[in-house]
């Protein structure tokens, strides 16, 4: 449905996230991370979450704060260990969070598959490594592949640069990263943008995420207005 809801209230934007949901969280490090939506999700209280994200939180804000609040049962990511991943590191060493490490390209492609209606695909990444253990393998045209399954989200929380009122999105520089893929892979996609522009103001050639993939848009410029 093209009935995108534009919000000036972060709490309203994330109101529907349920306990036990699988939440796709955009961002590569802090670039593209939907910090305002994550803060609202912490206030909202949903718990027992599975989070799918490239990293497992940086510093003490954003995804790290959600982990710190004890809301995440399991995290699926490619690169949890970083110099500023102390929140995750502590939870993991204490056995308080499950970790599923997925190579970054397989992580992206598995979410793309979910969004694109692909049932499964053969990837050459990870063949012969511990991350392929227990997975079906096949040799095709002389090359070895591992069968990888889609990763679907109940909800995606992503950050973008601008949205129009139909939810068409443009991103900025490498903050684009996982946003476009996650938007396709979740039943409900919630986006925070720096600015909502009138429909028709975005160049149709340059729209990266068509509004069909977007359900809720949080207009950070309206939010900041409220706060000021």
């Amino acid at each position: 449905m093209s009935t995108v809801t534009i919000h000036d209230d972060a709490d309203a934007a994330v109101a529907s996230v349920a306990d036990g949901a699988t939440v796709l969280v955009g961002g590569f490090g802090m670039a593209g991370m939907p910090v305002t939506l994550i803060d609202a999700l912490i206030r909202q209280g949903a718990t027992d979450l599975t989070v799918v994200s490239n990293n497992a939180g940086n510093g003490d804000t954003g995804l790290a704060a959600l982990l710190s609040a004890g809301r995440v049962r399991r995290i699926v990511c490619s690169f949890p260990r970083q110099k500023d991943s102390w929140v995750f590191d502590g939870l993991y060493r204490d056995g308080r969070i499950e970790l599923d490490v997925v190579p970054q390209g397989n992580l992206a492609e598995r979410m793309r598959a979910a969004g694109a209606g692909i049932g499964a695909f053969f990837s050459p990444t990870g063949v012969g490594t511990p991350l392929a253990e227990g997975k079906e393998t096949r040799t095709i045209d002389g090359r070895d592949y591992v069968l990888e399954m889609p990763i679907r989200g109940d909800v995606a929380l992503i950050g973008a640069h601008r949205s129009d009122r139909l939810g068409n999105l443009v991103y900025r520089r490498t903050a684009r990263n996982f946003g476009p893929v996650m938007a396709t892979a979740a039943a409900t996609t919630i986006v925070e943008v720096r600015e909502v522009v009138p429909t028709g103001a975005l160049d149709p050639e340059s729209v990266v995420t068509p509004g069909i993939y977007v359900d809720h848009v949080l207009d950070l410029s309206a939010l900041e207005g409220d706060v000021a």
Binding site: S2, G117, G200, V207, P210, I212
Partner: protein, 222 residues
């Protein structure tokens, strides 16, 4: 609705009346793909303020009406290669992305023509199976399994009088159990796992339809 509506005081629907009925059944704000030919007529009956957004599988959301005069642009056509226009809020994408959108279940409705539909919702619309026919499928198989709801618009009977709503398709299939509604000049149907149910008839009654179709027909129940 309490029971099947039998409109016996009028004749069959015109193509425009069928298109209008389909337009009425498309929820506001839907993302919709209209197939080549008769389904295209539905666009003329969608309210401008319905918020319905049209997808064309050659790579666009937000397709506007057919282009005329100076608006004709060879770079902007619909799936039938007819020049069309662009609405505010449109976007373009390549073929893999366009069919990912379709196959991934993101379109709400697609409207297709058909050679045959079975009571269970099987669709045959790409190939007559005739030995000298040149097969051509285009995006039909992707649309059939991709959209959340597949509406078929067709004449209820072929030129030779054969019924096109059937117990089992005899033409090569486009998709299995994919159609949810069928719109014809004589009647509209819901099809699917529970078989075919007659929603409304026009100039013919359900009992007479039963006599002319080799498919179990249910009446709507309250």
């Amino acid at each position: 609705m309490s029971g099947t509506l039998e409109h016996l005081d009028r004749g069959p629907l015109s193509k425009d009346e069928i298109a209008a009925m389909i337009a009425r059944d498309i929820p506001d704000g839907s993302y919709v793909n209209l197939g080549i030919g008769q389904p295209t007529l539905v666009a003329d009956h969608l309210d401008a303020d319905s918020g319905v957004v049209l997808h064309t599988e050659n790579g666009m959301l937000g397709m506007g009406p057919a282009a005329t005069g100076d608006d004709v642009d060879p770079d902007l056509t619909n799936a039938g290669k007819i020049p069309v226009t662009e609405l505010a809020g449109a976007s373009y994408f390549h073929q893999a992305d366009s069919f990912a959108m379709m196959r991934g279940g993101h379109l709400d409705v697609c409207v297709l023509g058909a050679f045959q539909v079975s009571g269970g919702g099987d669709l045959a619309n790409w190939h007559t199976g005739a030995p000298d026919a040149i097969p051509a499928v285009g995006g039909a198989m992707d649309l059939a399994i991709g959209a959340k709801e597949v509406f078929v618009v067709m004449s209820l009977f072929a030129k030779d009088g054969t019924a096109k709503l059937v117990r089992a398709c005899t033409y090569p299939l486009t998709g299995l159990a994919c159609v949810s509604r069928v719109y014809t000049e004589h009647a509209t149907f819901v099809v699917g796992p529970d078989g075919a149910t007659v929603v409304e008839t026009f100039g013919i009654g359900v009992d007479e339809l039963r006599g002319r179709l080799d498919v179990d027909l249910h009446r709507l129940t309250t």
